[in-house]
């Protein structure tokens, strides 16, 4: 067969094989999913109308009628009068221009705020590195230790010519990331141990302790745990000896998250066929070899979706430290909006906070979907 003939066949094949536009392609998709009956057509049109209307009025509020900056009055205070008297009313993004550094970094000394900014980047870098499978080696632990040390040095200072900044001046996004990262990093190993302890058959005392722990922590709301850590705990300590407020909240978070994660992990352990345990025993593996090499890799793989679900919920739960007076991201946002000069522009601030939380949570869920696909490749083959 000559080359030109083969080319002709290849060129002709698509045009002949492609089904008519009404069967595949966007038009067909629209017809099948949005307009397949009069009822579905009506719903589509109604929802389309509402979405366009709300979308347009949102754009008018957020972009067209928005005020981007305000003048400064004689006292050096921003004067938001032009935002208040604007007609038609629009967003006042100037509030973010004035307050974004406070919202992100709280009361950290103003000239030193590059330090928490660097910490946020370090945290994000740490998440990215930990997410890449080629870094899943022992060295990853060293990377974590190094990064967390660097974060500690940057936040506290006191060495390398950095000014010492006590913990009570930290705030904003770094607090949220510290609570979430340390909380999950310590809660996860603890939860695995608790889950294993709860399923152990030949250590009844350990089992009872694990069951009690999980049921006790799960039986009370996170808020009450935080209150206990912040209000009751100091009363039991000698006067003048007060473990740091952030540390107390952090420990409450770890205990809380571990109890929930333990149940998720236990679900994975239970879902594993008994044959896996028996096969590992038949190979003569010790308990820890069996658990580490055979059971956990399979069990954890099974529970990725509920694990990530708990992680995401937990990331957002860190905002509850609001009630014990720690300035996390949500608290700094609320405080920024309560300043008299900017009262009435809370929506703009909440929108910014929502975007930040969304970015982190969406990245987590997107990554976990990728991970699931990767892990299930062997099974789907």
């Amino acid at each position: 067969m000559s080359q030109s003939a083969a080319a002709a066949i290849v060129a002709a094949a698509p045009s002949r094989d492609r089904p008519p536009a009404g069967v595949v392609g966007p038009v067909a998709w629209l017809r099948a999913n949005l307009f397949n009956s009069w009822w579905s057509t009506a719903v589509t049109l109604l929802l389309g109308y509402l979405i366009i209307r709300w979308g347009l009025s949102f754009i008018a509020w957020a972009v067209l009628n928005a005020t981007w900056s305000v003048p400064v009055n004689e006292l050096g205070q921003p004067d938001a009068t032009i935002c208040r008297t604007a007609s038609p009313a629009g967003a006042c993004w100037a509030v973010l221009g004035d307050k974004w550094r406070f919202i992100l970094f709280g009361s950290f000394p103003y000239e030193q705020q590059w330090r928490p900014a660097l910490c946020v980047l370090l945290f994000i870098g740490l998440y990215v590195v930990s997410g890449m499978r080629r870094f899943w080696r022992r060295e990853l632990l060293l990377i974590w230790v190094a990064a967390l040390t660097a974060i500690g040095v940057l936040m506290w200072g006191g060495v390398l010519g950095l000014d010492y900044v006590p913990q009570d001046q930290w705030g904003g996004l770094p607090i949220t990331l510290i609570l979430a990262t340390f909380g999950l990093a310590f809660a996860f190993p603890l939860s695995v141990l608790v889950a294993l302890g709860r399923r152990s058959t030949n250590l009844p005392a350990v089992k009872v302790i694990c069951v009690l722990y999980v049921e006790l922590i799960r039986g009370v709301p996170l808020i009450s745990l935080l209150f206990m850590a912040s209000v009751m705990f100091p009363l039991f300590m000698p006067v003048g000896m007060n473990p740091d407020k952030l540390l107390r909240a952090q420990i409450a978070f770890i205990l809380f998250a571990a109890a929930y994660l333990a149940e998720v992990v236990r679900g994975g352990l239970q879902a594993l066929p008994k044959g896996q345990y028996e096969a590992a025993d038949a190979l003569g593996l010790s308990y820890w070899q069996k658990t580490g090499l055979i059971i956990l890799p399979q069990a954890l793989r099974l529970v990725i979706p509920p694990l990530v679900n708990t992680f995401i919920g937990f990331f957002k739960d860190t905002s509850l430290v609001l009630i014990i007076g720690i300035f996390d991201l949500l608290t700094t946002g609320r405080i920024a909006s309560s300043e008299p000069a900017w009262q009435g522009f809370a929506n703009e601030i909440y929108l910014m906070l929502g975007v930040i939380y969304f970015v982190f949570c969406f990245a987590m869920s997107k990554y976990s979907r990728g991970l699931e696909r990767e892990f299930s490749r062997a099974r789907n083959r």
């Binding site: 006292l75 009068t81 208040r84 008297t85 004035d98 307050k99 550094r101 406070f102 970094f105 709280g106 009361s107 950290f108 000394p109 103003y110 006590p166 009570d168 001046q169 705030g171 009370v220 209150f227 912040s230 209000v231 009751m232 100091p234 009363l235 039991f236 300590m237 000698p238 006067v239 003048g240 007060n242 407020k245 009630i323 014990i324 007076g325 720690i326 300035f327 608290t331 609320r334 405080i335 920024a336 909006s337 309560s338 300043e339 008299p340 000069a341 009262q343 009435g344 809370a346």
Partner: protein, 346 residues
């Protein structure tokens, strides 16, 4: 229910334990004779509990520095003890954990919009050392309603925050005067303000200082009227632990010193021009004669440091409260028709 009883009994046992430890600590104290003062000196820093989210009283500015009347009151005490108004660590506290934080020694001093009541002083082991703001429950209405007095609010709907002393005060006042009202309870501050502006309620009630701030930031401020009655007393001030009288004295007299300075026209700007004053009380105030500071366990120049670095009471007021649109009212000095009165310093 069982859990709450358990928690409460554990809590009480804990507070008794803390009380015992506190007494033991006070008994062993050496040095200045005040455990709190010694701790502050050793630490080189005053730990002060504030609200951290109330404009005019304690709120971080865009640069994260705590500003407000309460924050400056903390700075006063730091200047008196340590000679430097900036040696303060501000601990933001909520209404729930503020008293425990003081009882457990997490903070040395509490200046957090806290109303002086019998219950708090008698039951909680606390003492109120001074009143930096005489507040009270007030009402805001729209001018269009034509209401000129709270007595005309019979049958009105009133926006209040649930669980506050405001709610109880209104209830008491309306019952005593044989009036009826419908409360609209809204927790969130911006939501309650929005509800009032959009006309969901006829009046908005909370502490007078907050209403004045809210009114001052509205473009329609001339259409809003603050009714003249204040229906409850809310004296807000400095709180310390019981059992450390020296520290209590120091806090009280530092506050009085700022009043005496205002009374005599001494400000942070002109204080150095009084160095050669012949007036005996001013000489004692500025530490030029007498051992006023020594008697309190601090430097004789303590009042000088306070006024020089933070300012007299009037200056602190103007800087924090006047700018949010609240008139001085009953918080003026006694000789200008207000309640702020300091005993003589001698």
């Amino acid at each position: 229910m069982l859990l709450s009883i358990l928690v409460r009994s554990v809590f009480m046992a804990g507070s008794m334990l803390a009380g015992a430890l506190l007494a033991a600590g006070a008994g062993h104290a050496q040095g200045s004779g005040s455990a709190t003062l010694d701790a502050i000196r050793a630490r080189g820093q005053l730990v002060c509990g504030v609200a951290g989210n109330v404009p005019g009283f304690a709120l971080p500015d865009s640069q994260g520095v705590m500003r407000g009347l309460d924050a400056d009151s903390c700075r006063n005490i730091a200047a008196a003890i340590l000679g430097d108004a900036n040696k303060v660590k501000f601990v933001p506290l909520t209404t729930t954990n503020r008293f425990t934080a003081l009882q457990s020694g997490e903070v040395d001093l509490l200046v957090r919009d806290t109303t002086w009541t019998l219950g708090r002083e008698a039951n909680l082991g606390l003492l109120f050392a001074g009143v930096n703001y005489y507040d009270g429950t007030a009402f805001l209405v729209k001018k269009a309603t034509g209401v000129k007095s709270v007595k005309e609010l019979d049958g009105a709907t009133i926006c209040v925050q649930p669980g506050t002393s405001t709610e109880l005060a209104i209830d008491d006042y309306f019952r005593v005067n044989g009036l009826k009202f419908t409360p609209i309870l809204i927790q969130d501050l911006s939501e309650i303000q929005g509800a009032f502006l959009s006309g969901r309620c006829d009046a908005y009630s909370t502490d007078g200082s907050q209403l004045a701030t809210f009114r001052a930031t509205q473009p329609s401020k001339n259409d809003l009227v603050l009714l003249p009655e204040t229906i409850s007393k809310e004296p807000l001030g400095y709180v310390v632990r019981k059992g450390d009288d020296k520290f209590f004295d120091l806090v009280r007299w530092t506050y009085f010193a700022t009043l005496i300075a205002e009374e005599n026209g001494i400000t942070s700007k002109n204080i150095d021009s009084f160095a050669a004053t012949k007036v005996p009380e001013l000489r004692r105030l500025l530490g030029l004669e007498g051992d006023m500071g020594k008697a309190l366990g601090v430097d004789n120049k303590f009042a000088y440091n306070v006024v020089k670095q933070v300012g007299n009471f009037g200056e602190t007021w103007d800087r924090n409260i006047t700018v949010i649109g609240v008139p001085r009212g009953i918080n003026a000095l006694w000789n200008k028709g207000g309640l702020q009165y300091a005993p003589p310093m001698r």
